[in-house]
């Protein structure tokens, strides 16, 4: 009963959030809509890393490759089979998930730096592999065009608003699914796997299967994020998924707090806002070209250091800690 009630509340919360986003989308300009779509896309990508690293204890340095798998699957679905963009995004999730499952089984015996090295190698090599297959469009890649927004939304409904809706809806549905999953038996098993694999195995868990499952789920979410990314830039190509993207997402996950999904949006907001903040700083105080181009990286690095020093488990954990303290205080007052 209690579980059912919590799930309903969660669903209600996500519907409210979706409704608020719908209202916001009508009131903001095209730039904010575009940036909002990027925030939703990064939210998904960071959530996929948190699921893999924070919950199941597997380190991935090659998430950009998993995003690329989903992106190419989506683009091929649209270009070759003329499928609806929503179906193409579902296919992106499925294909990336299957790819992740295979990779997860292959990497099930690896952990720590060995797994990190394997995923890193994947991220480095995948763009080159993509270049070898003409069906993937070589270096110039493939067009990912979801077409114009439906006419029933009116003439004022811009392409960017359409992007915003699709990205936010995808992120809401997937995060809702993820939150429910992590509060279920699977979430507990993942955490057991992370905290003490030997104890988890002694308790009867199939470690290899759980690792592969976590990898598959994480890859599926990353695939959706990749599909959304190439929707936002209108095309998929190997150079859209550089190694630096993997590191950027990892930085976003650390800022968010890798052990909790609470506040996952903060990491995404940071990734989108930092370049803009850096630009406004440069435009106010001036500076050389070198300063301008290196400032965003410097700001992200500083934020990472601050996060590790003051909020190693992320701002979401801090809020949770504070609210727990409040509950305890309130309980004490009640006992008096």
């Amino acid at each position: 009963m209690l579980k059912g009630s919590a799930t309903k509340k969660r669903l209600f919360g996500f519907i409210i959030l979706g409704w608020i986003l719908l209202l916001i989308s009508d009131r903001i300009g095209e730039l904010r809509q575009y940036q909002g779509a990027f925030v939703a896309m990064y939210t998904l990508a960071i959530a996929s890393i948190i699921l893999l690293t924070g919950y199941s204890g597997q380190l991935s340095l090659g998430h950009s490759a998993l995003m690329a798998v989903g992106a190419y699957a989506g683009a091929l679905s649209i270009n070759n089979f003329k499928l609806h963009p929503v179906i193409a995004l579902v296919i992106a999730v499925l294909i990336a998930g299957i790819f992740g499952l295979l990779l997860g089984y292959a990497a099930a015996r690896l952990s720590g730096p060995y797994l990190a090295g394997t995923t890193l190698a994947l991220a480095v090599s995948l763009p080159t592999i993509a270049n070898q297959f003409p069906v993937l469009g070589g270096e110039q890649g493939l067009v990912f065009d979801i077409g114009t927004p439906p006419a029933r939304f009116g003439e004022d409904f811009s392409q960017y608003q359409w992007f915003f809706w699709i990205s936010c809806l995808s992120a809401l549905i997937m995060i809702w699914f993820l939150v429910n999953l992590l509060s279920s038996r699977y979430g507990r098993e993942f955490r057991a796997l992370r905290d003490n694999p030997t104890a988890a195995q002694l308790a009867g868990l199939n470690i290899g299967r759980q690792k592969a499952l976590a990898f598959s789920l994480s890859a599926g979410i990353a695939g959706l994020s990749g599909g959304l990314l190439v929707m936002l830039i209108s095309g998929v190509s190997p150079s859209a998924f550089p190694l630096s993207l993997s590191f950027l997402l990892l930085a976003g996950a650390v800022v968010t707090g890798v052990y909790s999904l609470k506040g996952v949006i903060i990491g995404a907001l940071v990734l989108v806002a930092i370049p803009e903040i850096a630009e406004s700083v440069v435009s106010r105080i001036g500076g050389s070209e070198g300063f301008t181009t290196s400032l965003p990286g410097f700001m992200v690095s500083s934020l990472l250091i601050l996060a590790v020093l003051f909020a190693p488990n992320g701002p979401g954990h801090l809020l949770h800690k504070k609210s727990t303290l409040n509950i305890k205080d309130n309980s004490r007052e009640g006992n008096k």
């Binding site: 009131r27 110039q140 990314l229 830039i233 095309g235 190509s237 150079s239 859209a240 070209e289 309130n330």
Partner: protein, 439 residues
């Protein structure tokens, strides 16, 4: 108590969401034609400033800015000063898309100018909705013939001759040159629209290479790959013709590999216009002796030719407004694009609109003064800038001298099998003080 805490949390979330909505909703409404006022015209540039491509092309926006500063110091365009907003895309499609979108939506530029890169700009064009917003996309620095498709890119005007044109003229040059014609020829090209366009041009010209082209990913030519390709080709008898169809950093990688393997004299080297900039090759560490004798195509005068009136005028502007930056082909290209932009803005008249600007280039663009030694090809049906090349030979100083001592320019198109023809084009004199006065 727990219920109260949850209520508090819910209230906080609601307040944050409402405040967020209010903050987002305070943005001003967009004007009909942004980026132009009585005092200012805001233009935008997105291209590589950092990374390997930035090393070569990073000077481009600085050169354009310098020329615009010169125009601003001379009264601007009908009293309006030109402001150029520059954004770094690191030659990455994702960044190109977001930076170009930022230029349009955030910086509210009137037009884009000089965007660089085929794979990057093709994605940026769609992502930033340039066609739908009718944003003029002036003098794009790529020879990809796809950008000439007016239906797909209705606001784009390219500046470089297409790579297909270049390949056709190269094929004619090889065929007409007695020392090259009998030799086996090979192609090493960038595997994107750039290289593929070139391969198609050679096909149109009926040129057959002795082996399939060696293609490498954009920005992905490693020294090992270059050495492997050259080692393989070194077994070919005679002095094979080796055509390099890539960016200058890739040409430098190949030439340095040839130096390492002592194969410089083994080949007849032909570098494309994009990859044959001698100053950049020297700056990237290629030995002067290596570039001596390399054949290269160009549509500009040599940037080291101080006797050329355009080079002389641009060099003066560069010295005054672009301090500390050496004058080379990239700077020449940037200043030339900026000068064409100023002429376009003037041709559009005092009542400047985006539609008016596009129409002005269509109707008057072919007659603009420009440093190019081949004609501009703008018209109601053509969005291609230059449509020809001349062939020269580099010397140790990095100067490009006409091959055989006589400068002959050829013009052609991108799609037919017709052979390139010699051109009698004579360019317009450089505007007085480098400031156009057209209308």
């Amino acid at each position: 108590m727990i219920r109260n805490t949850r209520m508090k949390r819910f209230s906080i979330v609601s307040v944050v969401a409402t405040v967020g909505a209010l903050v987002f909703s305070t943005l001003p409404a967009q004007a009909a034609d942004p980026g132009v006022s009585a005092k200012e015209i805001v233009l935008g540039y997105s291209g590589p400033l950092t990374g390997s491509a930035g090393q070569v092309y990073g000077k481009l926006p600085g050169a354009m800015k310098a020329y615009f500063d010169h125009i601003n110091a001379n009264g601007g365009v009908y009293g309006r000063k030109i402001k150029l907003v520059v954004r770094d895309d690191k030659y990455l499609p994702t960044l190109a898309a977001t930076q170009t979108t930022n230029l349009v939506l955030n910086d509210k530029v009137f037009a884009l100018v000089g965007a660089l890169g085929t794979a990057t700009h093709s994605k940026a064009y769609a992502a930033a909705s340039l066609a739908k917003k009718n944003v003029p996309d002036l003098f794009v620095n790529t020879g990809f013939s796809g950008f000439a498709d007016k239906a797909k890119y209705p606001t784009t005007f390219t500046i470089l001759p297409s790579y297909a044109m270049e390949a056709k003229i190269m094929a004619k040059f090889i065929k007409d040159t007695p020392t090259l014609a009998p030799q086996a020829s090979f192609l090493i090209a960038q595997d994107d629209e750039f290289g593929v366009d070139g391969v198609n041009g050679f096909k149109l010209a009926g040129h057959t290479f002795a082996a399939p082209a060696t293609l490498y990913p954009q920005g992905g030519l490693s020294a090992a790959l270059a050495e492997g390709a050259l080692t393989k080709l070194s077994a070919v008898p005679g002095k094979p013709v080796l055509v390099l169809f890539g960016t200058t950093d890739s040409t430098a990688t190949i030439l340095k590999a040839a130096e390492k393997l002592s194969l410089v004299s083994k080949f007849n080297w032909i570098a494309g216009s994009v990859g044959g900039d001698a100053n950049t090759l020297l700056a990237l560490g290629v030995k002067p002796a290596t570039i001596n004798g390399i054949l290269a195509a160009s549509f500009f005068p040599d940037a080291k030719d101080a006797t050329d009136s355009y080079v002389s005028a641009f060099t003066s502007i560069n010295t005054k407004y672009n301090k500390g930056v050496s004058f080379d082909n990239v700077v020449l290209q940037g200043m030339n694009s900026a000068m064409l932009t100023v002429q376009s803005l003037r041709a559009a008249g005092k009542n400047l609109t985006r539609t008016g600007l596009i129409k002005a280039i269509e109707s008057k663009g072919a007659g603009f003064a420009s440093a190019g030694l081949v004609p501009l090809n703008f018209s109601g049906s053509s969005r291609v800038g230059y449509n020809g090349y001349w062939f020269g030979q580099l010397n140790e100083k990095g100067e490009l001298k006409p091959f055989g001592g006589k400068l002959t320019t050829y013009t052609t198109d991108s799609s037919s099998t017709s052979a390139p023809t010699a051109s009698s084009y004579e360019r317009k004199p450089v505007p007085k003080n480098g400031v156009p006065t057209n209308s």
